[in-house]
């Protein structure tokens, strides 16, 4: 078998002392920076990319990949502990993960996230090694029209995120879509709703938005209800999931891995949908969906696996086509080019050591993450014991430095303050921020793809139905919407009967 000899070569490259060390170092630094509230993988890699420039190409990429996984995982840790998602894919983890932490089950949530991610990472590594090349052809089926339909499907998922009123959740999605229109118009370069602020011409940044609306608004809310936040401190339950919790998580992990792996291959950041899709699926399949949003372990296990699987398979378009599917991968391209490796379809044949070494290091990186993080779980959970009067100023300083460092910009710090105010108002008004963030993330892609598809079809909407993949996706979205609305309707009917 070719794969095995190739993988063996890869492990040969990755298992040198130097590369193992770099992988470990990358995972460690990535975790530590990624765990900073609001600083997700993109920001972490952008900050740390320069420190890899002095290494040899394979070592640099191995370390960078380590930083990537570390940051990804670190972001989930923050989402669970302090309810601040570092990037879009961690938004879902806040829903049940942070609830679990509030119930004193932070250790369990972190443990399940680590184990689920590790499993997903292992599967995804094999997936890439075995199917990477043929799968790129699948990705080629996705043009703008297909993407748009996929995003529509994603928006339908968002209604499932709602814990309270579906109407209010839907309106939050629209608010997110609206926020996503801020910035320079794609086609004409006209500034839209930027108020003349130069920073806004690239649109609203995810980090200040998420940090403000989730993190700081949550801090103010916690300051308001001292009782609520002390619950977190008083009960520290198990540090690791017990057997029944693991058993509960197995199926969600399997399903999450499958969903995440497939969506991750799509060029153009399909991976972002993975955790949302997984969460939606688990909630639909659950016997008692009302547990979701109140600390359901499946709501952490599934999305976290999907997240990590997608993070991994997102390497496929980069490694086989040389096309970066998202911002993280674009940074990887930069790292490759600075080392004189021009990414493209020939990397696999021209630099096989690099290619297979990197794939092998993905697996090693995942293993390292578990090794690094399981002991850290204890430390993270202990951090929750820090009195809140000290905790929130600490979060504030980390956030401030993190947000400043992403673009070396103080405006971003002010934006964070502004969004914190908005987020607090939204909490008071009973709105949930998660659907808004999903709308925001999908909105940018959606408008881009919608307009590309319409220009390509010269203004004909039938393009979305004529193309088979797109039509299928739209049909799935429609069916899901009907299923989502049915229980709501039947509830209304019950209500009508009662009255």
């Amino acid at each position: 078998m070719d794969i095995f000899s190739n993988l063996a070569m890869g492990f040969g490259v990755a298992f040198t002392l130097q590369n193992l060390f770099l992988c470990f170092l990358g995972c460690m630094i990535g975790t530590l920076v990624g765990v900073l509230p609001g600083v997700g993988p993109v920001a972490t890699i952008a900050m740390l990319l320069p420190i890899t420039f002095g290494l040899d190409p394979t070592g640099a990429l191995i370390m960078l990949a380590g930083i990537y996984y570390g940051a990804q995982y670190g972001g989930s840790t923050t989402a669970i502990l302090v309810n601040i998602p570092g990037e879009a894919t961690a938004v879902v983890t806040t829903l049940d993960g942070h609830q679990m932490a509030k119930q004193g089950r932070a250790g369990v949530a972190l443990g399940v996230a680590a184990l689920g991610s590790f499993f997903a990472g292992c599967v995804a590594t094999i997936f890439i090694a075995a199917l990477g090349a043929p799968l790129t052809r699948f990705a080629q089926l996705f043009g703008p029209a297909e993407y748009f339909s996929l995003m529509v499907m994603g928006l339908v998922f968002s209604t499932v995120l709602a814990r309270g009123s579906i109407l209010k959740a839907l309106l939050m999605v629209f608010l997110g879509l609206l926020l996503a229109t801020v910035g320079t118009d794609l086609e004409t370069g006209q500034e839209r709703v930027t108020l003349g602020i130069q920073q806004l011409s690239d649109g609203v940044d995810f980090a200040p938005l998420a940090m403000g609306i989730f993190g700081f608004a949550e801090i103010i809310r916690n300051l308001e209800n001292p009782e609520a936040r002390d619950v977190v401190r008083s009960k520290i339950g198990n540090l690791l999931p017990n057997w029944s919790e693991i058993k509960q998580s197995i199926k969600p992990v399997l399903r999450g891995t499958a969903i995440g792996s497939i969506l991750g291959i799509l060029p153009g950041n399909g991976a972002v949908l993975g955790p949302f899709a997984s969460y939606a699926m688990e909630k639909k399949l659950a016997k008692d969906p009302s547990r979701f949003g109140k600390g359901a372990i499946e709501g952490v296990a599934g999305p976290e696996s999907a997240n990590n699987a997608g993070a991994q398979t997102a390497f496929i378009p980069l490694l086989t086509l040389g096309i970066p599917p998202n911002a993280v991968m674009a940074l990887m391209v930069g790292a490759m080019t600075i080392h004189g490796i021009i990414p493209g379809p020939q990397v696999m044949t021209k630099n096989p050591e690099l290619f297979w070494g990197m794939i092998a290091s993905m697996w090693i990186g995942n293993a390292m993450l578990v090794i690094i993080n399981l002991p850290l779980v204890g430390i993270w959970v202990k951090l929750l014991k820090v009195p809140y009067r000290l905790m929130f100023p600490a979060i504030l300083i980390f956030c401030s430095i993190g947000i400043y460092s992403i673009n070396n910009s103080i405006q971003d710090v002010y934006f964070t303050a502004f969004f914190a105010l908005v987020g607090y108002i939204m909490i008071k008004l009973g709105f949930e921020p998660a659907p808004m963030l999903l709308g925001f993330v999908l909105g940018k892609l959606m408008e881009e793809k919608l307009r590309q598809a319409l220009i390509l079809s010269r203004g004909s909407f039938t393009t979305f139905i004529e193309r088979p993949v797109s039509a299928t996706l739209l049909a799935v979205a429609l069916i899901m919407l009907v299923i989502a609305l049915l229980p709501a309707m039947s509830k209304k009917r019950d209500q009508a009967f009662q009255e």
């Binding site: 608010l175 430095i401 203004g459």
Partner: protein, 160 residues
């Protein structure tokens, strides 16, 4: 799932503004703001969308949703708004803004302790001495981590 809507309508009867009335007004205001800002942008047609097409149409939907919320809330009642935690808002947001004002001007060595100290007062159980020591220690830690370990170009001291 929808306890808030289908629950007993008057469970928190009393005075104050209905939460969903506030929520609706909030959305209507945002909608109006975007409509105002995007008014002058070319809307184009469905065949050839202009820059203003999507902001305008989404804003209209959002505004309509806001109106719907207000009406439903007035008909069915629901939760009331609670008073905002002004102290928390002021000191936490103030801390952020202080950081922004001072970090490039004076450097992290001032911005760090200053913003942390200020923010500490957001809670009534603040202990000033403890907060001050903690702020200085954390800033030293951050300088070590970000500046020296990670080599980020964040200004440390700029006033000498």
């Amino acid at each position: 799932m929808s306890e808030q809507i289908s629950g007993e309508p008057d469970k928190e009867s009393g005075r104050g503004i209905l939460q969903d009335v506030g929520a609706g007004v909030f959305l209507i205001l945002i909608s109006l703001f975007f409509l105002w800002q995007a008014w002058d942008l070319p809307r184009g047609s469905l065949r050839a969308m202009g820059a203003g097409m999507l902001p305008m149409s989404i804003a209209v939907i959002l505004g309509a949703g806001g109106v719907l919320l207000v009406i439903m809330s007035l008909v069915k009642g629901g939760e009331r708004l609670t008073t905002p935690h002004v102290r928390g808002l002021f000191f936490v947001l103030g801390g952020l803004i202080l950081f922004g004002l001072t970090v490039r001007w004076l450097g992290l060595i001032v911005a760090g302790p200053l913003s942390m100290m200020f923010a500490s007062f957001a809670t009534a159980d603040v202990r000033p001495v403890e907060a001050a020591i903690f702020a200085v220690v954390m800033t030293a830690f951050c300088i070590g981590l970000f500046k020296f370990l990670l080599g980020l170009p964040i200004p440390i001291i700029t006033f000498i």
